[in-house]
Symmetry: C2
DNA sequence: GTTAGCACTCTTTTGAGTTGAGTGCTAACA
DNA sequence: TGTTAGCACTCAACTCAAAAGAGTGCTAAC
């Protein structure tokens, strides 16, 4: 038995209706809802077939049908993309203000949440290859030096270093030249103990300062590696009764707060098939606590091999069209952003 | 009628019991619970008095009593401070690692959440008087300058500025001297249009760069003013049935995510009576959506007139002793932190 | 192939009855 | 005068059965 056109229409109608109401859909509803002009009895026959095929399930014998994961999957794969229209509005909002990256990503997460009424996440872009691009040591006041560390991809960090005595301009210059000539372009793996020892030797009495700077560099690069994640719309979870019973809601909120859990999603997503939009339905989700949810994710590129992820998490009956549209828009905005931002 | 000693004891017993169980407390329970050796009937009489005095209320005629806001208030004001013991453990954890400020505050919020099982918040320290302490312009690569801006209190921001042509070392030096001599120590209000015009004039063809730098300075100072807030333990809300019905939980989670709402708390708290620990019970809360909660807050000093806030939000029947103890500990840790951190 | 109709199933709602915790009040006691 | 025992009363919470309602599967007829 295969899915003929009529079955497809009915399946589509069931899913659409269920997306709207969240209630199991009965045969009579479909009989009136579609323009097939079939009686509820006929629909019942078809629904029995669809159930046998695994596209829909019955929560209990005398209830209507709801889509199974397979049903959603079919819907997502074949029936989507209608209303990419209202998404247009999003485009400008993000561009409106050239914010700091930090703010921009927060903004992106929020924008998606407001637009879709689901929970959303955005990870900061990060690069596989973290090398030192630029390093500057300056005198801030008598007893403090400021080390500015720029990582490939323009991630910038500052560290304040305490010194016991003030350094003169010439020393500062020498230290800067020393550091830059030896360290530029190196990744944390490439900065060997040998390099460090040699640098310290050349710095003479300023060896301890050099050591501190190098520590800071290592820490900065490492820090970049443990990921920043921005989330928004967490409390949208409460809008969907099937997610808002206490245990589930608590688990979900927890996953969003303990952002660590979300990294499973990122790992899953960062490697292959990198440029497409992925849809995880129910049990397909890499995150166990989200098996009652659907997750839509995409990667964005930020130039220089930097990439981040955006994702929307909602109930299985989420509005896939809209979510995919939103993700697409935000993705393309972020994709083009770095060109004007670096 | 006044609160005599016996009434106080009974009130204390009622509150203690209610804190533990979360259920209304009956006269028989108290009769057995305390060592007063009074029958439940006597207790009932006293409880009727306490209710008349407004310290306890009855959810409905045939239920036990629960503390009113006034009752909690009395409890907090008079009966607290017993077990500051177990709090000791916290002290070391924070000191364990000298993290970046950012990480440290996150850590502080989390620590409090884990320790108390309530929701917590920590704001980044900020200063009333935001003046420019140090400004450095450096050449990052051919087409990009890096401006490092240090605000009084060692808040550091970086901005990348795009330039069409590479600048030579001498120009860089001149610009740096120009900027520092004219801007150092000024607040954003003090940098007048006159100052800016004069600077631009002196910079000649590099006027546009100066303008961009000044913009960045203004933005940095302003950005410092819209506050960063770290939260943790949000999902602890679900542990307290009286807060975890859908509407309340949703509102609370929302308040924590839309950190903006929390600023009401900060405004309330930043001005006067600055150095004490404040306890808001129920309706006393400055945040409307938290009127079913209690909030405990304190300010911490970060040197240079910088100050931030820490707070714990939980059900009205929170363990006030423990919460106040935890807040005290974290506060004192943060108070002493800046000395070794700047 | 489609439909009407009916018996059947199962959830949800409703309401009555029961239980149990707790109170207020009164009368008696010390 | 303060304390207590006892009793009638209240009310939320629980249980249980009945009724309602939504929806199905199946059969027979069109």
């Amino acid at each position: 038995m295969e899915l003929d056109e009529r079955k497809t229409t009915i399946l589509q109608a069931i899913i659409k209706n269920y997306l709207e109401t969240g209630e199991p859909v009965g045969s009579r509803t479909i009989s009136k809802y579609t323009d097939l002009n079939l009686s509820s009895a006929t629909i019942r026959n078809e629904m029995a077939d669809l159930e046998e095929l695994g596209y829909i399930v019955q929560p209990h014998t005398s209830a209507g049908r709801i889509p199974s994961d397979k049903g959603y999957r079919f819907y997502v794969d074949t029936m989507m993309s209608e209303h990419e229209k209202e998404v247009e509005q999003l485009k400008d909002v993000l561009l409106e203000k050239e914010e700091k990256l930090d703010h921009m990503l927060k903004q992106a997460a929020k924008l998606m949440a407001v637009n879709t009424n689901y929970a959303t996440m955005v990870t900061a872009p990060r690069s596989k290859r973290n090398t030192l691009k630029f390093l500057q040591l300056s005198r801030m006041d008598e007893s403090h030096l400021l080390a500015v560390i720029v990582i490939e991809g323009n991630l910038i960090k500052n560290t304040v270093i305490e010194v016991t005595e003030s350094l003169d301009d010439e020393t500062m210059l020498k230290l800067n030249i020393l550091l830059n000539t030896h360290l530029n372009g190196l990744s944390v793996e490439e900065i060997s103990l040998g390099t460090i020892a040699s640098l310290k030797g050349q710095a003479g009495m300023y060896g301890p300062i050099i050591a501190e700077v190098i520590d800071a560099v290592a820490e900065t690069i490492k820090e970049d590696e443990d990921l920043e994640i921005y989330t928004s719309g967490t409390n949208n979870i409460f809008k969907y009764p099937e997610l808002s019973d206490n245990q589930k809601a608590s688990d979900l909120i927890n996953a969003f707060e303990e952002k660590q859990l979300l990294t499973q999603l990122i790992d899953e997503n960062s490697e292959e098939g990198s440029n497409e939009i992925k849809v995880y339905i129910g049990e397909e989700s890499p995150i166990q606590t989200m098996k009652d949810c659907s997750i839509v994710t995409a990667n964005y590129e930020f130039g220089d091999g930097m990439r981040g992820m955006i994702g929307i998490i909602g109930p299985k009956r989420m509005d896939y069209d809209k979510v995919v549209g939103t993700i697409k828009t935000i993705k393309s905005q972020l994709d083009t952003m770095y060109k004007k931002d670096n």
